[in-house]
Amino acid sequence: MGRYVIRRLLQMIPVFIGATLLIFLMVNVMGDPIAGLCGDRECDPATAAQLKKEFGLDKPVWQQYLTYMGNVFTGDFGTAFNGQPVTELMATAFPVTIRLTIVAIIFEIVIGITLGVITGLHRGRPVDSGVLLLTLVVISVPTFVTGLLLQLLLGVEWGWIKPSVSSEATFGELIVPGLVLASVSLAYVTRLTRTSIAENRRSDYVRTAVAKGLPRRRVVTRHLLRNSLIPVVTFIGTDIGALMGGAIVTERIFNIHGVGFQLYQGILRQNTQTVVGFVTVLVLVFLVANLLVDLLYAVLDPRIRYA
């Protein structure tokens, strides 16, 4: 187990370097960021040169990358164009997005798995068909449609919520955005759980458990669900990263100033430091989430061993 973890951690290094390098190159290809800084007029050449020097943009790309990575290891993610250190931007953006992600994940786990278990146990019944139809609708309607609709109905027409989230972005305010963000994944979790439950319901160990006379609740939660959760956990685990990075649409609709907002602005303003910094952290989140998922397997199914 220990060796497995160490090996996995070592594997992260090339992935991390590769991913950041790719992003660095991609942002650089988009053109000269200083050109966009002066608005609809050309920066005067002397100021532009001075700014380039300040942001280290006058050096060749490989040198920029090396300096950047060197700084990252000392915890310095550079400065955004508005003069704020990127770490400061992260300190304000990540907590908000993490809260949003937690809300979304909770929705996925609670509603998704519950519906999955119900439908898996009642395959072919009206409940099953109803939920299947519902998930089909949710999957096929794009997030921004659900988001805008809920915002309009709950926020403007009925006045149940505020259409936008305040700068504090408390858990309460994030419930509707979180539900919107979770909606598509939630439908997938339902379907995955349903299939997995329905398959395992006919397996020998479930029949044994039922034959032993265990109460139905115990059969479902301890035996059936635990074994059926492996694909679901894999999905949710990888979804953590996807939710954090992919919240751009939801964050825009509800005016949440999280990671999506910063990334969007970083890209529009072509601010290499912001974009690379945030993506670097997101890559780390992805890697750690994947590692945790792999480690969770052993907890769910003791037969899985790591070499």
Partner: protein, 542 residues
């Protein structure tokens, strides 16, 4: 029937969740006490908030609230009126003696003196301070030494600025510039307190100025709370208790918030909502002219666009564009077809001349076709209009313009749009002179002067002459106009220069842009100034 109970539980959970939001969402910062503070939509400023470093509307909005300069532009007429300036005297349009009014202080108590201006201007011009508006000081003598085009600077003060005494300073320009005093209302010329220089980092966190508002709190990227400054000595005191500027990523969300009663003022109504805005807001919707004109510029560095007769092609293209229809259908009349190269906010006296463009801006497909043929046809058989697709609704109007041109010329392929992903990339391509055909050009005035609509855009090698158009007659007329001491005559000479622009069709004028705003029932006396920024200090909150 266990399934049924489970389903019920799930439904309850969802309902509870929604109910919780309703509780959690309400009452956080509605600011009911006193009721005098209003909230307004805002965008995250791109640059640090320094007067000489702010070149976009969002940062400018704040500077306008916390700073007062020598001059101020009248929110209705746009005329430059004395603010901190007691008098600005000159005999030769080149040497100016400026006297600062007595009794003005910064909000931290420090007196505003002639030195506050001179040190601020020196700071702005000095190359080492990276100020993006440094070029505003290029007419002042000594600029080249403090801000050389290449190499290192030899001094960090402008030799043309001299402090005479506490209230008087002199400015020497390197050339005659009769309208120079009228430019002094631009935020870049604001005075700065000592705190700016001694504790720069802290000043940036919470800028200190001398305007009707002070900054109460500033959370970068999310909101700024401005409070009325009770000690403000000017006569344009704030009529409300303060303004909370909230950053919105998407102006649609801001508009939704306004409808839900969560926000008081939106100063940028999203294009998609223009159709409903009158129904939604009635007379709480403003649509007033702003000093913004949109044009199509041409790459004159490309030989294909710089042949004899190519002016006929450009004029032909101009005549192939049905401005009226596009402004009506796409912009819902928030833009007005342009008939000159300035803006209606200048007024007749200021140099706006309706119809100066004449026939060349009138839609006439037959004439367009003829002109283009006479001019040797479209270069390469097709025009590509380049624009940035990331912001604004540029794609929509470029497609419409192309459609109009294609219809006029009976050729599906005469014109196509050429989107560029980001604004930065668009600017890079312009800077690298890579434009293959006409491209989107917009101009938002810095100050309401006809000079500002012509010189930076069409003078040889001027700062915003992106098409690199060059014409001796035009340059000569602009120089003449600048040297003119009589304002009326100067304006007239500028108009002659504008006629040169027309005869060569240096850029196709498309339309004047209006400022649009919507506000809640709590507000009254809401106006937009000629820069399309709300006149915050005059807004009354009930």
């Amino acid at each position: 029937m266990r399934g049924a109970t489970h389903a019920k539980w799930a439904a309850c959970a969802a309902a509870a969740a929604l109910a919780a939001t309703a509780c959690g969402g309400g009452g956080s910062d509605s600011g009911g006490d006193g009721g005098a503070v209003l909230s307004s939509s805002w965008g995250d400023p791109q640059n640090p908030l320094e007067p000489a470093n702010t070149n976009e509307v969002q940062g400018g909005k704040v500077l306008d609230m916390i700073f007062r300069s020598l001059k101020k532009y009248n929110p209705e007429t746009g005329a430059a009126e004395d603010m901190l300036a007691e008098k600005i005297e000159t005999t030769d349009s080149q040497n100016f003696t400026i006297t600062v009014k007595d009794g003005w202080t910064f909000s931290n108590g420090e007196k505003v003196t002639s030195k506050s201006f001179v040190t601020a201007w020196n700071y702005a011009a000095s190359l080492k301070n990276n100020q993006k508006n440094a070029y505003f000081f290029e007419y002042i003598e000594g600029y080249a030494a403090a801000h050389p085009a290449s190499g290192s600077q030899t001094t960090d003060v402008l030799s043309g600025l001299k402090v005479v005494n506490d209230r008087t300073f002199t400015v020497k320009l390197k050339q005659k510039f009769s309208t120079f005093p009228d430019t002094l209302g631009y935020p870049a010329y604001a005075p700065l307190p000592q705190a700016f220089f001694t504790d720069h980092a802290n000043w940036l966190k919470k800028p200190i100025g001398n305007g009707p508002y002070t900054i109460d709190s500033y959370t970068k990227g999310s909101q700024m709370a401005l409070k009325k400054w009770d000690g403000y000595p000017g006569d344009d005191k704030a009529e409300n208790g303060g303004v909370t500027l909230k950053v919105y990523t998407d102006n649609n969300t801001a508009y939704t918030d306004l409808l839900a009663g969560n926000l008081d003022l939106v100063d940028d109504v999203p294009a998609a909502q223009l159709k409903n805005v009158k129904n939604d807001l009635g007379d709480r919707y403003l649509n007033t002219p702003a000093g913004i004109i949109q044009t199509l510029a041409f790459p004159f560095y490309d030989k294909k666009w710089n042949t004899t007769g190519s002016d006929k092609v450009r004029t032909g293209l101009s005549r192939a564009i049905d401005r009226k229809q596009i402004t009506e259908t796409i912009f819902q009349n928030t833009r007005t077809p342009a008939t000159d190269w300035t803006s209606p906010v200048l007024g007749e006296e200021g140099g706006f001349k309706e119809g100066l463009c004449g026939d060349a801006c009138e839609y006439d497909p037959a004439a367009a076709k003829k002109l283009i043929q006479e001019g040797g046809g479209l270069p390469g058989g097709q025009v590509k209009i380049t624009y940035n697709a990331d912001t604004g609704s540029h794609k929509q109007w470029v497609d419409a313009v192309c459609n109009s041109i294609n219809n006029a010329l009976d050729n599906d392929k005469a014109c196509v749009g050429n989107p560029v992903g980001t604004f930065a990339d668009f600017r890079t391509q312009i800077g690298d002179r890579k434009m293959a055909g006409p491209f989107r050009a917009g101009w938002q005035m810095d100050y309401p002067l006809i000079q500002n609509f012509l010189q930076p855009l069409y003078y040889t090698n001027a700062s915003s002459n992106d098409g690199k158009w060059s014409n001796k007659d035009f340059d000569k007329l602009v120089d003449q106009a600048n040297a003119e001491t009589d304002t009326a005559k100067a304006v007239e000479t500028f108009q002659q220069a504008e006629e040169v622009v027309r005869d060569n069709m240096a850029a196709i004028p498309l339309w004047y842009q209006n400022g649009s705003a919507g506000y809640s029932e709590r507000l009254s006396n809401v106006k937009l100034n000629p820069f399309s920024v709300p006149v915050y200090n005059e807004i009354k909150v009930s």
